[in-house]
C-alpha cells in the first residue's frame, strides 16, 4: 500500500476534453442519484454508466481500482456481518449451537472494525450492527441486501470521483469553479480568490503527500510489509512500530537541524529514543513541526512570487486575474449536462 495521491493522468479522450463544469455537474448529479437508488436495477445502471465513462476516458483501471483496497475489505466484512446478524435474529436451533462461534467472529470483527474505522462509513454501520446485535432489525436477506447496496453505493461513488480527478487538470477545475462562482461576485463573493485558493490547495496536496511519502519510505526501509494484503499491512503497522518511530524521530531531527540552521526555534524535545506513547508523540511532533513550518515558508515564498506578478493589483479591466484560454459554455456542453442530469433524475425517480 504505497501512499499515492490522485492527480491528473493525461489522455486524449472525450472525457478529458469535456468541459470541467459539465463534468462537475454530472458528478454532483451522479452522487445524489446514488443516494436515492434502492434497487439493484438502478445500481446496475449506475455501474454501467460509470463503466462507459471509464472506457471513454481511456484511463488505466489500476489507479482507479487500487487506492480503494481498504474500502473493498471493509465492504466485504460489512456484508458478512449483516448476514450473520440477520441469521442471529432468527434464533433457530443451529444458530443457538453456533452462538459461541458467532460471538468469537463478532469479537474479531469488532477488533477489525475499530482498526479500519476511519476508512469509511460502512464501518460505522458495522459497529452499530455489532453493538445493537440485531442491526436495524431487518431479516437476514434484507440486511444482506441493504449492506450490499450500501457497499456498492460507496464504491461506485469513490470510483466516479477518482475518474473526475484523473481526467481534469487543476487549471480546468479552477476555471470551472471561477465561472460557476462568477454570478455571486455581484453580492461581494471573491469568486476568483476562492477558485485560486481551492486550486492552490489541490496543487499543495501532492506536495504534502511527498513530505509524508518520505516518512513512509523511512518506515518501509526498516522492513515494514506494506502492500502485501491488508492483514499484513496492519501487522506491519503494529509490529514495526518502534523502528518506525525511531525512523520518524531521526527524520524529524534532520529536518529540525535544517530548520535550526535557518534560525527557527522549535519547542524543546527530549532526545530520548524508546518505547511508549509519550515518546512516539514526541517523535511525531519532531516530524510534524518542521514539516509545517517548512510548508508555511514555501507558502510565503509563493505569495511573494505571486505578488511580484501583480496578483491582486487594482483591477484594470474586469477581474484582477488573467485567465488562460477561458472556455465558453457551448450548446454541446449544455446538452451533455442536461442529458446527464435528466438521466440521473429519471433513474432516481423510477429505480
Amino acid at each position: 500500500m504505497s501512499f499515492s495521491v490522485p492527480t491528473y493522468i493525461p489522455r486524449d479522450s472525450p472525457v478529458h476534453r469535456c468541459d470541467a463544469r459539465v463534468k462537475l455537474g454530472l458528478l454532483l448529479a451522479y452522487s445524489i442519484t446514488l443516494f436515492f437508488l434502492h434497487s439493484w436495477a438502478g445500481m446496475g445502471l449506475a455501474a454501467v454508466a460509470l463503466a462507459i465513462a471509464i472506457a471513454a476516458s481511456r484511463l488505466p483501471l489500476r489507479p482507479i481500482v487500487a487506492p480503494l483496497v481498504p474500502l473493498y475489505v471493509l465492504a466485504a466484512i460489512t456484508v458478512g456481518l449483516s448476514y450473520l446478524n440477520g441469521n442471529g435474529t432468527g434464533a433457530s436451533g443451529w444458530q443457538a449451537l453456533n452462538g459461541a462461534l458467532l460471538m468469537g467472529a463478532r469479537i474479531i470483527l469488532l477488533a477489525w472494525a475499530s482498526l479500519v474505522f476511519t476508512y469509511s462509513t460502512t464501518s460505522n454501520h458495522l459497529m452499530d450492527a455489532l453493538l445493537n446485535g440485531n442491526g436495524t432489525g431487518a431479516s437476514g436477506w434484507q440486511a444482506l441486501n441493504g449492506a450490499l447496496l450500501m457497499g456498492a453505493r460507496i464504491i461506485l461513488l469513490a470510483w466516479a470521483s477518482l475518474v473526475f480527478t484523473y481526467s481534469t487538470t487543476s487549471n480546468h477545475l479552477m476555471d470551472a469553479l471561477s465561472s460557476v462562482l462568477r454570478p455571486f461576485r455581484r453580492i461581494g463573493v471573491p469568486a476568483d480568490d476562492i477558485a485560486l485558493t481551492l486550486s492552490l490547495a489541490l496543487r499543495f496536496i501532492p506536495l504534502i503527500a511527498q513530505q509524508m511519502q518520505l516518512v513512509r519510505n523511512a518506515q518501509y526501509s526498516r522492513g515494514a510489509k506494506f502492500g502485501e494484503g491488508p492483514l499484513n499491512s496492519i501487522k506491519a503497522w503494529g509490529g514495526t512500530l518502534i523502528p518506525v518511530l525511531v525512523g520518524l524521530f531521526r527524520q524529524g531531527e534532520t529536518l529540525a537541524c535544517a530548520m535550526e540552521a535557518r534560525c527557527y526555534g522549535a519547542p524543546p524535545r527530549g532526545a530520548k529514543f524508546g518505547e511508549g506513547p509519550l515518546n512516539s508523540i514526541k517523535a511525531w511532533g519532531g516530524t510534524l513541526i518542521p514539516v509545517l513550518v517548512g510548508l508555511f515558508r514555501q507558502g510565503e515564498t509563493l505569495a511573494c512570487a505571486m505578488e511580484a506578478r501583480c496578483y491582486g493589483a487594482p483591477p484594470r479591466k474586469r477581474g484582477g486575474r488573467t485567465l488562460l484560454n477561458r472556455r465558453p459554455f457551448t450548446i454541446g456542453d449544455m446538452a451533455v449536462l442536461v442529458a446527464g442530469i435528466a438521466a440521473c433524475a429519471l433513474a432516481a425517480f423510477f429505480l
Partner: protein, 204 residues
Amino acid sequence: MEKAIAASSAQSRVRSIVFVAIAIALTAACSMVTVPLGPIPFTLQNFAISFTVLALKPKEAVAAIAGYLLLGAIGLPVFAGFAGGFSKLLGPTGGFLWGYLIGGIIAVGILSAVQKMKGSKSVAASKGTRWQQVLLSAGWETMAMLVLICIIDACGCLQYMALYQVDFLAAFLVCAAPFLVVDICKAIAAIVCAQAVKAALPTK
C-alpha cells in the same frame, strides 16, 4: 504612500490565499493517511482542523474549513479513505464534517475574543512573567480545542442518531467514545505545532 498601503494589503491578501490553500491541502493530506498509535489507528484529520483553527487568522481558518468541505462536496476525494461527494456529507459520518465548520467558527470566535480581551489588558498591565502569559494563552487554546472536540462529536452523534434511529448513548459509544483520548492528544499536538509555526513566522 497610498501605493505602499495598497501593495501591503494586496500582499496580505495573497498570503491569506496561500495559507488557506495550505491549510486545505494539509487537511486533505492528513485525511488520507492513517497513523497507528496504540490500538486504534486514526487519521490526522482532526489534528489538521485544530491546527488550522489555531495557526491561521480567524477568517482564514473558517475559510479553510469551508473550502475543504466544498472541495469534498463537489466530489474530489479529499475526505478520509479517498472518499468524496455530497452524499458523504449526508451519510452517517457526515455530521463530523459539518461539525468541523460549526465547531471551527465557535472555537475561532472564542480565540479571537480572548485575543481582544488580552490585548486590551496587556496594554494596561503586562506585569505577569512571560511564562505566565504563555501558560494563560495555552490554557485558553486548550479550552477552545475542548469546545471544538465537543461540538464536532455532538454534531457527528446527532447525525448518526438521526440516520440510524439510535439513542444518544449508543451513538456516542460508537462514534465518539473510542476516539476521545486520541482526539485530545491530537488537539495538544495541534497547539504545540501551531505555536511553533506562529513563532517561526515573524509577521504573525
